[in-house]
Amino acid sequence: MSADMQREFANREALIAYLAQQFPQAAAAADEVPPVPGGRRAAEARLKQITPGKAYSASRNYLNGAVSRLSPYLRHGVLSLAEVRDAALEQAADPAEVEKFINELAWRDYWQRVYRAMGDGIWEDVEAYKTGYAAAEYAADLPEDVAAGRTGLACMDAFSRDLRETGYLHNHARMWLAAYLIHWRRVRWQAGARWFLTHLLDGDPASNNLSWQWVGSTFSSKPYYFNREALEKFTDGRYCRACPLYRTQRCPFEGSYEALAERLFPYAEVAAEAAPPPRKKR
């Protein structure tokens, strides 16, 4: 039997110092502290501020959009999906006004159900990649430059730093970073999924691994990818403006969806068909 861990702290700094000393391996790997506090009180305060109606559905795909940022509290059951849904419905005269938000909550419920059915199988490719490449053609490990935020791509390096420093990334940033790793760097999704789980405050094997598989195409009918124009639009251009690769016309994300598909998936059956429509963001 181990000793009780401490429960009384003078302040947050004292708590953090105590935990860094208790868990030196975790602190050595990444010693950043969370920008948002844990706990039910903080969760309820956040819940009071959500705008799940039109503000959400119109802006959620933008990096500065009106998303709820409830994910760490939902992940750890500090709030339940049912009570967040009920709070959203209270703000609506008609449930249809908050349907998009509730649909996103449903993604979490769905992944949890799949997890219950698949168990540790969520670490395996659910299906084969539809990229024209076999799993063995993907690298097993996370490239050092991506982990360190030193690829030279202003967007990806910022996402990598944000992930490490804040433990949070906007959904769109997660999708782009995952697509970059899997499709441009040809790294197995599992390497990226492990990296995310180390850092995300909402890191959840089900939502995380299955979303990675969705991007990779091992749990969807085609790979998710994006182009520079889309990224520029949903980030208000802030990364492209700061990016040396864009200025020198060496951005690897530049091009139409058709041209990118030919470059990224030259052997894929879907890509060989006449121009597939750009993958719709869910």
């Binding site: 039997m1 181990s2 009780d4 861990m5 429960r7 708590l15 953090i16 935990l19 860094a20 868990f23 391996q25 975790a26 602190a27 790997a29 990444a30 010693d31 950043e32 502290v33 969370p34 506090p37 844990g38 706990g39 039910r40 009180r41 903080a42 760490p72 750890h76 059951g77 500090v78 709030l79 339940s80 049912a82 849904r85 009920d86 419905l89 449930p95 249809a96 509730i102 649909n103 449903a106 419920d109 769905y110 949890q112 159900r113 799949v114 997890y115 219950r116 059915a117 168990g119 490490r164 433990g167 492990r194 789980l197 180390t198 850092h199 995300l200 405050l201 890191g203 089900a206 869910r282």
Partner: protein, 142 residues
């Protein structure tokens, strides 16, 4: 019957069904040393969870989860362990280990929180769109 509560990282709420089922019963949370190591969990995640724990009436320990929980039950002469459900296979393994190491006549009960939506047992989980089609109405009109 004397009861203890096992609180885990998927249910760190004071509204946790186990607190409601046995108010005032001794509760324990155990940091799983193996899991922290294997998953390279970063300090910020630990701090976040610890802040959640500090708002709960719970004893915090670290080590091997099943062993620590059973020892805690023993300390309190408890024959009943209550815990909240989780989809994680690790949760099932830990429950099994606990059951094996509890004295005979003891029991472990798993409680469920209000679900987001009740779904038929045979629901199609192959793609989200199929799942959403079958639950949408109830999800929007609970």
């Amino acid at each position: 019957m004397q009861t203890i509560l096992w609180i885990h990282g998927d249910n760190l709420s004071p509204q946790n069904p186990v607190f409601q089922a046995a108010p005032g019963a001794p509760a324990i949370f155990v940091w799983d040393e193996a899991l922290l190591r294997d998953w390279h969990i970063s300090l910020k995640r630990i701090v976040f969870m610890y802040e959640c724990l500090l708002e709960l009436p719970v004893t915090i320990r670290r080590g091997e989860v099943a062993r620590e929980v059973v020892a805690f039950a023993h300390e309190h002469a408890a024959r009943r362990i209550l815990t909240a459900d989780s989809p994680a296979p690790l949760h099932r393994r830990l429950c099994r280990q606990m059951s094996q190491h509890m004295p005979s006549g003891s029991r472990l009960e798993i409680l469920h929180e209000t679900s987001f939506v009740d779904v038929p047992g045979n629901i199609d989980l192959k793609r989200f769109s199929r799942y959403w089609q079958s639950v949408k109405k109830r999800a929007l009109n609970p």
